[in-house]
């Protein structure tokens, strides 16, 4: 229904992409020079529409709650939109479907990876938006679908407390080494750190590995991996996030780690579709915002901006983001396995198999 | 002090009350009828469970009767079907366990009935009357104490003041003294009675203590199993009990089963009890051969070492002698094996009492005996 939003002044004429392949992703080094001005213009128009829709209210449900700092950054550019946020860890799809079923105000923006948003995709919740008509390079849409705007990637890394462990192994198999007994942790909901291994080596090998890791006592399933990682009690964390300013922590990619592109888009049930588009574009590509994300500790997450953006952006990273993004990009460039529309269901099956092995 | 409650005339006519117990209706009060004249003091006396409290509560309106009529000064308070609610009956009530409101001061307790009354008094007037009621029971000095800081007797007095504060026509009292200890009970008994007389209020008093009923009342109604078995002035009740139940319940009594054998010249009967022959006054309704019970009070029993030449002497053996202070009580076993209780009173009592195991003669003066149906 909301596909109705048209680019102001007709579809944008796209420039030619100065392309570099980064693993499965195509990078346009000339993005900010040749694409961004047009996108920016479209965004101004979207802002005007969004202000009128639903009284300027913009509802954003995400897997994580947006921190007030992020909202403040957005409002600095677009002050007249009032953002209402909810973090719905592992329940986002259900909340969106429930809201539609019960008729309550739904989110304007939906987001997730191909896997995590699978239900939303299957139930047809991505509004039919042609992002290329708003100036986004068509090279960005190689992994997902046209209505899904790629905004970032994340993937599985190993975090290491270097006080306790000099260096993390480069493979998951390496974790079987007796020296890591009781030293590796994973969260119960993070079975996907093994899925890449499974996609490469087969399900049996993967479940075997998980079984071995657990039975050897090397791997522990923990709800809170961060405290023991930081204090050194469990010095290696798989798939753990990186918010911890402890200088002893470092991060490294490992072989067969999956990398997952993250998308955002507009909910078919949105009350403020223009606002949804505006948010998605701003969050994914706005250079000032991304620069801040790469440098300001307050905004560091495991997610790294979409690798399709110019190298210069990634070069500007400092601190935690620098470690994190270089590890991820190294992994991606080194052939990390990435999920695509075609392989989505295999991934889902693989993750569930890993989940069963880990938690069953 | 100007406290004129004045009394009302209470008429209870054919009162019936059932309770539901395990699905069945159990009658508890069965056609109780009595009248209390204005300003008099009537006691309901009876053993535990006979329905005294239930009757009183029906009069108060705390229970709805199932039949019969209750009226006060001609105003019908209750029929089997319509009931005036308790707050509109113009009565005062004193409960067995004081029922003093523990969260209030003495004064607040006393002034409460004046504050909630339908035709509300001005604050000042209410305050004045409450203080009057407290003065009446000599609690005015304690007005500002928390009510719980009173002793048992004081609490009972406060309950009385509270019941009188709104100058009701009828005062109901349910065993108000039974929770007090002996000395205090005596004092309160006197206080209560003189207060009632002073105010001229009509009082209905429930008790199972015969000496309380006898000493305080103008009239006593003896209840048994939901019925009134005798209603009379205290002395009549004591000396002319209507039946064995009353005789036994009101004061202590010796009872000997006997058979009427004939009459002597004075119209007194000759009865045979365990072989012995006794002379005793006897209503004409008992003919020769009738099974009767001869009753006599312990205080009218006399004992002798040797038999004097008088009628009604029973040889006996003393089996118990008990010194109770004012009274010495003894028990003597007559030939039939039954025992007779006698008391000796006064300064000389210990000297005049028999010794344990002594053979004695027990004298029952004919005029002290009373013959009742067996």
């Amino acid at each position: 229904a909301s596909g109705a939003i048209e680019p102001s002044g007709g579809p944008v004429e796209l420039a030619a992409c100065d392309a570099v392949e980064v693993g499965a992703v195509t990078r346009c080094e000339n993005f900010y020079d040749d694409y961004w001005p047009a996108i920016s213009e479209q965004m101004d128009a979207l802002y005007e529409t969004a202000k009128q829709a639903d009284g300027g209210r913009l509802v954003i449900w995400d897997w994580y709650e947006l921190s007030p700092d992020v909202i403040a950054e957005f409002n600095e550019v677009y002050p007249d939109l009032k953002i209402e946020t909810r973090g719905l860890t592992y329940n986002l799809s259900s909340a969106i479907i429930s809201a539609k079923a019960t008729g309550s105000r739904n989110t304007d923006v939906i987001s997730g990876s191909l896997v995590s948003a699978a239900t939303m995709t299957d139930e047809g919740y991505w509004a039919d938006v042609d992002w290329t008509a708003f100036g986004v390079p068509k090279e960005f849409f190689t992994i997902g679908a046209p209505e899904m705007l790629p905004d970032s990637v994340n993937g599985s890394l190993m975090q290491v407390n270097t006080d306790k462990v000099a260096e993390a192994p480069a493979t998951l198999d390496g974790l079987l080494d007796p020296q890591y007994e009781g030293k590796v942790s994973v969260a119960s909901y993070n079975a996907n750190v093994f899925a890449g291994y499974g996609m490469d080596k087969g399900e049996e090998a993967m479940t075997g590995l998980i079984g071995d890791l657990k039975s050897s006592g090397n791997l522990q399933v923990l709800e809170d991996q961060d405290s023991p990682l930081s204090s050194g009690d469990v010095p290696i964390a798989l798939g753990q996030t990186l918010f911890n300013p402890n200088p002893s922590l470092s991060v490294s990619p490992y072989e067969d780690a999956g990398v997952f592109a993250q998308f955002s888009g507009v909910n078919v049930d949105a009350k403020n579709p223009a606002g949804g588009m505006l948010w998605s574009l701003w969050n994914a590509y706005n250079p000032d915002w991304l620069e801040l994300r790469m440098t300001d500790e307050r905004f560091s997450t495991t997610q790294v901006p979409f690798p399709g953006l110019p190298t210069s952006l990634f070069d500007s990273a400092t601190g935690l983001m620098q470690t994190n993004s270089s590890a991820l990009l190294t992994g991606l460039a080194g052939g990390a396995i990435t999920e695509t529309v075609d392989t989505r269901d295999d991934w889902i099956a693989m993750i569930n198999a890993a989940d069963a092995a880990l938690n069953g | 002090m100007t406290h004129e409650s004045g009394g009302g005339r209470l008429v209870v006519d054919g009162l019936e009350k059932h309770y539901e117990l395990d699905g069945a209706e159990v009658p508890v009060v069965k056609g109780v009828t009595f009248t209390i004249e204005p300003g008099t003091f009537t006691s309901l006396l009876g053993p535990s469970g006979c329905g005294k409290t239930t009757t009183l509560r029906c009069v108060a309106g705390l229970e709805n009767s199932n039949g019969g009529e209750i009226s006060l000064d001609g105003n019908v308070l209750s029929t089997g079907t319509r009931h005036v609610s308790p707050d509109k009956r113009d009565i005062g009530m004193v409960f067995q366990n004081y029922a003093i409101w523990p969260h209030m001061t003495v004064f607040a307790n006393a002034v409460f009935p004046l504050q909630v009354a339908a035709g509300k008094l001005p604050k000042k007037e209410a305050r004045k009357r409450a203080m009057e009621a407290l003065e009446l029971v000599q609690l005015d000095a304690y007005a500002h104490r928390p009510a719980t800081a009173l002793s048992g007797g004081q609490q009972q007095r406060l309950a009385l003041a509270r019941a009188l504060a709104h100058r009701p026509k009828l005062l109901l009292l349910d065993e108000p003294l039974s929770n007090l200890d002996a000395k205090l009970r005596d004092t309160m008994r006197n206080e209560l009675r003189s207060l009632q007389q002073r105010l001229g209020i009509t009082a209905l008093y429930v008790t199972h203590d015969q000496s309380e009923a006898l000493s305080m009342s103008d009239r006593v109604a003896v209840m048994n199993q939901g019925r009134i078995v005798q209603e009379a002035a205290p002395r009549d009740l004591y000396y002319q009990p209507a039946d064995r139940f009353v005789a036994d319940f009101v004061g202590r009594v010796n009872m000997i089963p006997a058979i009427v054998r004939g009459r002597d010249g004075d119209g007194d009967a000759l009865v045979e009890a365990f072989g012995a022959r006794l002379v005793t006054p006897c209503p004409d309704s008992f003919g020769t051969g009738a099974d009767v019970t001869v009753t006599f009070r312990p205080e009218s029993v006399r004992w002798h070492e040797a038999a004097p030449d008088r009628p009604n002497l029973l040889p006996a053996r003393v089996v118990r002698v008990e010194f109770l202070g004012e009274i010495v009580e003894y028990e003597a076993e007559i030939l039939s094996g039954q025992t007779v209780v006698g008391t000796i009173v006064g300064r000389g009592a210990p000297l005049n009492s028999p010794s344990l195991h002594d053979p004695v003669f027990i004298e029952l003066a004919p005029q002290a005996c009373r013959v009742l149906a067996a």
Binding site: T102, V115, Q225 | M93, V116, A141, A143
Partner: protein
């Protein structure tokens, strides 16, 4: 009066019946939400699925029984011991102990669990560090089933403690004394007389503690990812957290919930039986009642030592772990070097400067206060009506129903409320609002109901009847006589529910949004790495400490204020002209055992008074 009773009854009915009905319906409808989804239809599919998972089911039953049963037994033992020491012995510092026992009750369980986690870390945990100082190679594995059970027991001691204290206080000491003079030693008296006498009451406490344990998610969530994953609460939580590319299995979760409701209902019936027995037994203790105090003598030292260890484990070390976490920039092991070089106290200031802290604190107080008020008012009015009504089948049914929420574990209640608000949202849009939370928290109404019921029974009928014959209407009698007399109990229960409300985590975990979230949830967001950019462990810990202090102050402050008020009222009353004031003498006897129902708070209050 009657109308008020009916309204109160209706409120309680709505609070309890609708969520349960929604849950049962959900269990019998398709896999997702009960209404509005095209795939939903009536079926027993969820139960079939449940049956197909029966191996899993038995594992859950076994594991839950071991965990909840074990922790219940442990916490009862500890609570009984503590209550015994504080009520029935001459142990020194009894007042202090009874306050310290209450401390863990105030810390939100999720934060408490986190504190235990910090305290128990094998290397860096302060407890394990302490143990390492001792000879022998003692290290506690925080993630073992036994540790988890033990921690659950420790976190739950306060609740049974608060319930056992009045039971012990009100037991007629002459029953034990007569055993002593009959020739029984202390031990024999305890075994043959004291425990059997208290048994029904203790059974009631045990059942309530068990149900409470069944419903609490926190400890299994943090400690049980491996060893405790079959524990019911965590299982339910995982069922409604969707797997990859799937929707949460609400229908299946509801079916699970239904099965466990059957179990708790059985426990609940046991509880009702037990308390009824207890009431009957309590009724025969006569006057001349005085509690006997046991002289500890040589036992004083071991007893005090045991208590010291307990207080260390439940109050001192967890609070220290939180404090350490608050003053370090990121989680590090305690060491004196770190103490010197790493500590910073900025987190306290940051918390106090955080508007969201104040906002969620405000919401917490509103939600906890509002729900406690609703529950207490409705429950008291209904309890009064039922306790004073003739016992018929109908009143018995109402009584049973109003008592029933003690049988509903918080997880089930939270989940059922969540479903309910979703279902009614198109008509009454409450989902995610503070009102929804207030309603949900009020589901604990049965605690207040039971207390109000027994407190009403303790108020002798004559007190009301005296008001009636004094000319007061029934409503006025209730307002002026019954209500003030019930006040101490109601207030004690209110405080208890208020504190429960302030640290409630399970219910808002299902129901809250950032706009309506109470502090416990915000705090958890701060200390859980899962919450991404909100993760600030130092501030979370600081917040927990500030909050604990605050609730402690509010709870005790209110009690103190009320007892002051109660004393003051009699004194402040205007003297009546012309009447000299007689000095106030304390009553000669302790004011009857009537007042004893007023739970532990009453005792607390008297202690407050004594301290003045």
């Amino acid at each position: 009066m009657k109308i008020a009773t009916i309204i109160a009854g209706a409120v309680i009915f709505l609070l309890l019946a609708i969520p349960l009905a929604v849950q049962v319906i959900t269990a019998f409808r398709g896999p997702f939400l009960p209404f509005g989804v095209s795939t939903a239809k009536w079926s027993v599919e969820n139960f079939v699925t449940l049956w197909s998972l029966r191996d899993d089911f038995w594992a859950v039953l076994g594991s839950t029984a071991a965990f909840v049963g074990g922790s219940t037994v442990l916490s009862l033992l500890m609570a009984f011991g503590l209550a015994w020491v504080t009520v029935r012995t001459d142990a020194p510092l009894r007042r202090v102990i009874s306050v310290l026992v209450v401390v863990p009750f105030i810390i939100p369980p999720i934060v408490k669990a986190q504190a235990y986690l910090l305290m128990l870390s094998p290397e860096s945990g302060v407890l394990n560090q302490l143990l390492r100082l001792l000879p022998g190679d003692l290290v506690i594995d925080p993630y073992s089933f036994v540790t988890m059970t033990f921690i659950q027991a420790l976190t739950n001691v306060t609740f049974p403690y608060l319930m056992i204290v009045p039971i012990l206080t009100s037991m007629d000491g002459s029953l034990e004394e007569s055993a002593r003079v009959s020739g029984a030693s202390w031990a024999k008296t305890l075994r043959r007389v004291t425990l059997p006498m208290l048994w029904p009451g203790l059974l009631g406490v045990a059942v309530l503690t068990f149900i409470l344990g069944l419903g609490s998610l926190e400890v299994p969530l943090l400690f049980g990812q491996e060893s405790g994953k079959s524990i019911f609460a965590l299982k339910l939580w995982n069922l409604i957290s969707a797997g990859a590319g799937e929707l949460p299995q609400y229908g299946l979760a509801a079916a699970w919930g239904c099965v466990f409701l059957v179990i708790t209902t059985i426990a609940f019936v046991i509880y009702l039986r037990a308390t009824r027995n207890a009431e009957r037994r309590a009724s025969i203790s006569g006057k001349g009642f005085r509690p006997t105090v046991m002289k500890l003598g040589a036992w004083k030292i071991p007893v005090m030592l045991a208590i010291a260890v307990f207080v260390m484990l439940t109050a001192v070390l967890p609070l220290f772990a939180l404090f350490w976490s608050a003053i370090t920039p990121y989680p590090i092991a305690f060491s004196f070097e770190a103490l010197v070089t790493q500590t910073q106290f900025g987190s306290f200031g940051a918390v106090l400067a955080d508007p969201e802290f104040w906002a969620s604190l405000g919401r917490t107080l509103v939600i906890a206060g509002g729900s406690a008020t609703i529950a207490c008012v409705a429950a008291t009015v209904l309890a009064y009506g039922i306790a004073r009504a003739r016992r018929t089948g109908w009143t018995k049914a109402v009584d049973l129903f109003a008592s029933s929420s003690v049988a509903i574990p918080a997880v089930i209640a939270g989940f059922a409320m969540f479903l309910t608000f979703m279902v009614i949202n198109p008509v009454i849009p409450l989902a995610g609002t503070i009102v929804a939370l207030i309603i949900a928290y009020s589901y604990r109404v049965s605690i207040a109901y039971r207390a109000g019921y027994s407190a009403t029974l303790q108020i002798r009928m004559e007190l009301e009847e005296a008001a009636l014959v004094s000319g007061a209407s029934p409503l006025e009698g209730f307002r002026r006589i019954v209500a003030p007399l019930l006040m101490p109990t109601v207030f004690a229960v209110w405080i208890q529910m208020f504190v429960l409300g302030t640290n409630e985590f399970t219910l808002p975990a299902f129901l809250a949004t950032p706009e309506s979230r109470p502090l416990s949830v915000y705090m958890y967001a701060m200390i859980s790495p899962r919450s991404a950019q909100l993760y600030q462990p130092d501030q979370g810990a600081a917040m927990a400490l500030i909050f604990t202090l605050l609730v402690f102050a509010i709870g005790y402050g209110l009690q103190w204020g009320v007892s002051l008020f109660a004393i003051g009222r009699a004194k402040r009353r205007n003297p009546i002209p012309g009447v000299g004031t007689a000095e106030v003498v304390p009553p000669a006897d302790p004011v009857a055992p009537d007042t004893r129902a007023v739970a532990a708070q009453d005792l607390e209050e008297r202690r407050q008074l004594a301290r003045r």
